[in-house]
Symmetry: C2
Subunit: 377 residues, 2 copies
């Protein structure tokens, strides 16, 4: 019996794990946010002069419910999966690169390993649907739902049951990390061809034209891009995902690792953990999560502005402003890892800066001309 048939038989249609997690997502803690606003005004700097870092400190307080938040325990979760649509030649790289890059992550040689080491984040790799079996490794979580999705150009990527199972896996993976100790989490992805389902998700959920939300991925040429656009249009035509039903969109034109990231976001929000959203694929997962359950949006911090043109469309829809603009288009959670020091800096400034009173520094004056004249020799 293959793995999909088994899932259909064994799992109930309504997931208690998902509904229970969504019920546990609470509004931001307004009292903690007010306490941070009040403290920010007393720190030795002109009010508001740390700009977005001040806003970040307030947001992290609201998420965590702590007025002096610490972000010491960091993790980047990289979800991996393969995509049947790779068969359409929509990526510049062959599908065998997915398991090869997972091995590279486990060996510590990928960009995400470098940036995670720098910022002191642990890296967890989760196999949600890589097309081959992977050898066991202490950093590898095996939650394989299937050996790659089906080709969205010909039918749905996943059944609803498979999509739910992948979301549940994501929830449970983040719950396990919370158990180990976690203050902030970053999303990452690996899956050759996964910008194609991500663009399909954006087009389906936002109603934007496919051309406006489809980029070059890892670097296809003009002809490849036209093929990719045509493939996505065909996938939307054949599957007709319901824009009012995020799970339907996710199952029909998404991917196992994208569904896993949706679960990660739900699980982190339920655990009051700030979620740093990486690039295009992670943001597609975030869009599915926020369309599915809008309150989750408040728990998200957008790391960076990807080169992929559909990224901005999603961020604007979620009203998230990315922290970095470095022309990244790598995925893996690299942008999330690079943004983490800024979020930590925001909390460090809040905790460690002296107040005007503590430092004996004069506050701003109501009438600078008068004081200026007094100081004139």
């Amino acid at each position: 019996m293959n793995i999909q048939v088994r899932l259909e038989l064994e799992r109930p249609v309504m997931s208690h794990i998902i509904s229970h997690t969504l019920q546990n997502i609470e509004p931001l803690d307004m009292a903690a946010m007010a306490a941070v606003r009040e403290r920010q005004a007393r720190l030795t700097k002109p009010a508001g002069s740390l700009g977005r870092l001040e806003e970040l400190s307030i947001k992290v307080a609201g998420i965590t419910g702590k007025s002096m938040p610490h972000l010491d325990r960091k993790a980047i979760i990289v979800m991996a999966g393969d995509h049947g649509v790779a068969a359409e030649g929509v990526s510049a790289y062959p599908a065998e690169v997915t398991p090869q890059m997972v091995q590279n992550f486990l060996n510590g040689g990928a960009a995400i390993n470098v940036f995670a080491r720098q910022t002191g984040a642990r890296v967890v790799i989760a196999d949600l649907g890589v097309a081959v079996d992977l050898p066991g490794h202490p950093q590898l979580v095996n939650r394989k739902i299937g050996y790659g999705t089906r080709n969205i150009a010909h039918g749905p990527a996943m059944t609803l049951v498979e999509a739910r199972a992948a979301v549940e896996a994501g929830i449970q993976i983040v719950q396990a990390e919370i158990q180990k100790g976690l203050d902030i989490i970053g999303t990452g992805d690996m899956g050759i061809a996964n910008t194609t389902p991500s663009s399909a998700i954006v087009a389906a959920l936002t109603g934007q034209e496919v051309e406006r939300v489809t980029g070059r991925g890892t670097g296809i040429d003009g002809q490849g891009w036209e093929r990719k656009v045509a493939t996505i249009k065909q996938a939307l035509e054949i599957n007709r995902p319901d824009p009012e039903n995020a799970l339907d969109v996710l199952a029909k034109v998404g991917g196992f690792e994208i569904a896993g990231l949706v679960g990660l976001i739900f699980g982190a929000a339920a655990g009051r953990i700030p979620v740093v959203i990486d690039g295009f694929i992670s943001t597609a997962a975030a869009l599915v999560a926020t369309e599915w359950h809008p309150p989750v949006r408040d728990y998200l911090i957008a790391a960076h502005n990807s080169v992929e043109i559909g990224h901005r469309v999603m961020l604007e829809r979620m009203e998230l402003v990315p922290l970095l603009n470095l022309d990244l288009r790598l995925g893996e959670g690299t942008g999330a890892a690079l943004a983490m020091p800024l979020i930590e800096a925001a909390c460090l400034a809040l905790r460690e800066m002296a107040t005007f009173n503590e430092a004996g520094v004069s506050e701003r004056e109501e009438n600078p001309v008068e004081t200026g004249r007094k100081l004139q020799k």
Copy 2:
């Protein structure tokens, strides 16, 4: 005999320190840059997918002359000075805040201390012209040229001899840091009212209207802003700085700490040390430095985009694209310290990522459709 008269008598008109330093500024190392470009193409990521971080790694290699650069030894130099023009009521804070904030830096309680600790940079405070004597401290370098500049609304801020002395002090301060061990340096400033001379410098050197390059500084109101604009216009009218002569502009409408930062930039470039330029005041110093000696531009990395409206004008003139856009307007070197981890990340990725060959990862294919079909089941 006051300090200014002494300087006039003791120092030669032509500074050998400055001319010698400028002669030592060499072009970027093209061989090191080519080696980095070649290595970037072999690392396990789509070519160019790390965007500006790849460009940064190439630039740092060109600056340092090293194809595998390390940026372990970091310093932020905060130059402090007072401004006679504070008497015009152009700042929201009284001038006494300058020495109070210097004390805050030395006690480790300011934002720059927090961010420098986070990124592992040492903080050096240099008194180039604070209006009062400061108690000695191991982290404080006393290179006081005068007790605050003269009021630019009524005449030149400094004599040419004083301005040169401040530039020389900046050179010598960075040379001392290079002696201690230095891989990268960030600029910082402290000086109540110093956005006023900075705006005057931008207007003088770029010919832009004063209104277009004058912002709210630490937070003056609309009336204060109008007073600030009128003061800058008066300063330019009375002093008539020569836009073709950066030293003339610096002396007439600049400041001691700004001149010190010009020297810091010269000294760092001569020592092949990358210079991370902080916000508005630091960038005014960078503009003076690049107008004075254009080759120095290649040694500069713009940290962030300040809220101060004149900042963008300067960055565009120097063709520098800032790394961060966080709505900062604090100075002190805070933006420089926050940008350092990104520059370090660029070098870490270059050094620590596996190549395709090392990791056994397949490279991109010429004909993705063919391979895609082969993989199809």
